[in-house]
């Protein structure tokens, strides 16, 4: 049993070992091992040519990774906190994301780093950025909830020929443990974490664990589907489940407005209108920055009570 953090490190280690085109780029990731120590030791194993420190220049880091990808490397860029990716937004969205469509050449690169709230990181060390990168074309987005997935999905992400944003919920880094496999897990496959017949909670990331806790309260009523990948999205798995349960709660930590829940809700409405026995329901964070003080943060986070209430309400609908 290893932590999710160790699983992520192991995925990078295995990819570094398997393919000498893989390089790691980031701030303080070499000797220091990164702010969260995710890359600890990798520079000793693979050398400072392949685990490379950078200045504080998120835009140049992404840009250089794009260039390196063009000449055949497979760069994995660490953001010290994923919030700082906002400073490299243009390179990722306009350069990496649009390349293949425009001139047929893709950039095989991963941008990864800690995201998410729950550790009093306040507004700039807690964000869930998935919507910002899903609402523009060209960036795959992966968001694992278990150590096993983190390992297998990161390996696939590194091997993927296109730009991938790999989100690691910092709350899970050392809190979640699991056995990991030794193989990549294909992108785009959701996982049913719990079976139920009364409604489906579709979720991902740290929220999966809260959903499982809540589902317990409802016996065999609540099914929990972990998306694992937001793009490519396993729409079929979502639809299959909702077709069975006829009710769905979309649950995530990111802001509600234009969150992943909005998109799923729209797709379910479009495709499963006649299967629905109750309103497609979202449980997500309020449309505000993330507050610092623990009580505030707790009130801000869409927690188990909110989810339980939404489930209750929908089950009784």
């Amino acid at each position: 049993m290893i932590t999710m953090l160790e699983a992520i490190r192991q995925a990078m280690r295995d990819e570094l070992a398997a393919d000498d085109k893989v390089v790691l780029i980031g701030q303080d990731i070499a000797e220091f091992g990164g702010a969260f120590k995710v890359t600890q030791g990798l520079v000793d194993e693979f050398g400072s040519e392949r685990v490379v420190d950078t200045p504080i220049s998120e835009s140049a880091m992404i840009g250089a990774a794009i260039g390196a990808a063009m000449v055949g490397l497979k760069p994995v860029v660490e953001m010290q906190f994923i919030d700082f990716l906002a400073c490299g937004y243009n390179q990722l969205v306009n350069f990496a994301g649009k390349m293949r469509y425009r001139w047929g050449q893709g950039a095989s690169l991963v941008v990864r780093g800690p995201c998410g709230a729950g550790v009093s990181g306040s507004a700039f060390h807690s964000q869930s950025p998935e919507s910002s990168y899903l609402c523009v074309p060209g960036i795959k987005v992966i968001y694992p909830s278990t150590a096993e997935d983190a390992y297998g999905l990161l390996r696939s992400a590194i091997q993927d020929p296109d730009p991938v944003l790999f989100l690691e919920h910092k709350f899970l880094y050392r809190r979640i443990k699991g056995e990991i496999g030794s193989k990549p897990i294909p992108l785009g496959q959701a996982a049913t974490r719990r079976r139920g017949h009364g409604l489906t909670v579709v979720t991902y990331g740290a929220a999966v664990h809260t959903a499982l806790e809540v589902a317990e309260q409802f016996g065999d009523q609540v099914e929990v589907l972990d998306l694992r990948c937001l793009l490519p999205l396993d729409e079929a798995a979502v639809f299959e489940s909702v077709r069975r349960t006829n009710k769905v709660v979309l649950y995530h930590e990111a802001q509600k407005t234009l969150g992943m829940g909005a998109e799923l809700s729209a797709r379910i409405s479009e495709s499963l209108f006649e299967y629905l026995d109750g309103p497609v329901t979202r449980v997500a964070a309020p449309d505000s920055p993330i507050p610092f003080s623990p009580n505030l943060e707790k009130a801000w986070l869409p927690g188990s009570e909110q989810l339980a209430q939404a489930c209750r309400q929908l089950l009784n609908y």
């Binding site: 701030q27 702010a35 906002a86 507004a123 060390h125 505000s288 507050p291 003080s293 623990p294 505030l296």
Partner: protein, 318 residues
């Protein structure tokens, strides 16, 4: 500096350090929420520079510029409660550590993204001049922060607009674990200023009088309509990036070498030996510091946490 100012500088230096030492005990008691970022060894920069400001000037302190808050009239309790996430903090617990400010006091709250304050303080200075207000915007940047795009865009804009703006670069040798040599190919940050024809000076950042004097010159330059000014304060970060970082990547000799340059010890010696202050004059200030720190520490410690209802609302004015 007048004699009075010298005593004041001494007071603020000691207050800054005592404040952080008190925070450190809170930290060890697990009463600090999140990381604790020290300015140990760099206090002279914030205090010397902020003391050179006129009341109408504005300042945007970063995480190690606790001293600038104090000079601007904030109390230790404001820092204590921010770090302890209390309801009584300037942001009512909404944001952390030095992430607070107040337009009325001319203090701008920073965001975490390094470099971002620079264009904003260009706007503060420029926007004031547009309105005929004599106001300079002062902010800080670390050696590492000079690698950001905003550093470049901000200083270039400042130079083109001749904005009344002063940037103090704290060259403390490290950006988290990254030494300056892995951050840039130059050794002096003043070389950055050449790209904008902004006048720049190297200052001994551990000499509060030198920082005060240089900032005074810089502000004067900016105020007179000649545009921005850049100061590089050479110094050393004497602790880890934050208290959770043991900074073993810092060569022991380097630390040793800088330990002898402590800005407070040095200024204390100067006050006594060079400027003829009596030991009692200083201990009087020490006593003031002690009393205030204890009073404010108690205040913060006894302050309640916000309750959850404070989490919502306030994103927009209406």
């Amino acid at each position: 500096m007048t004699s009075e100012q010298k005593l004041q500088a001494y007071y603020f230096l000691k207050l800054n350090r005592a404040l952080e030492e008190r925070l450190l005990s809170f930290y060890k008691q697990n009463k600090v929420v999140g990381g604790l970022y020290r300015s140990l060894g760099q206090e002279a920069i914030s205090i010397g520079s902020a003391m050179a400001l006129q009341p109408q000037d504005w300042v945007a302190p970063l995480i190690r510029n606790v001293g600038a808050f104090l000079v601007r009239g904030y109390r230790p309790r404001d820092l204590f409660t921010q770090y302890m996430a209390k309801a009584t903090s300037p942001t009512c617990g909404r944001d952390c550590n030095t992430h607070f400010g107040d337009i009325q006091r001319g203090v701008v709250a920073p965001i975490s993204m390094l470099g971002a304050m620079i264009p904003v303080m260009v706007g503060v200075g420029w926007g004031s001049r547009m309105q005929g207000v004599d106001r300079v915007g002062l902010t800080y940047i670390g050696d590492g922060g000079t690698s950001t795009g905003d550093f470049h865009e901000g200083l270039n804009l400042a130079s083109v607009w001749k904005a009344p703006m002063v940037l103090i670069a704290e060259h403390n040798q490290f950006a988290y674990s990254t030494p300056t040599s892995k951050q840039m190919a130059i050794t002096d940050l003043v070389d950055r200023a050449k790209a904008y024809a902004i006048p720049a000076e190297i200052v001994d950042g551990n000499d509060v009088l030198a920082v005060f004097a240089a900032t005074g010159r810089a502000l004067e330059h900016a105020r007179s309509g000649q545009g921005p000014y850049f100061l590089e304060c050479k110094t050393m970060r004497m602790r880890g990036h934050a208290e959770h970082d043991d900074a073993r990547y810092v060569p022991a000799e380097l630390l040793e070498q800088w330990r002898g340059k402590d800005p407070i010890e040095r200024f204390t010696r100067q006050l006594l030996d060079e400027f003829g202050f009596a030991p009692e004059q200083l201990s009087e200030q020490d006593e003031r510091v002690k009393v205030l720190i204890e009073e404010d520490a108690e205040f913060a410690d006894n302050s309640p946490y916000p309750d959850g209802s404070g989490a919502l609302g306030g994103v927009f004015a209406s």
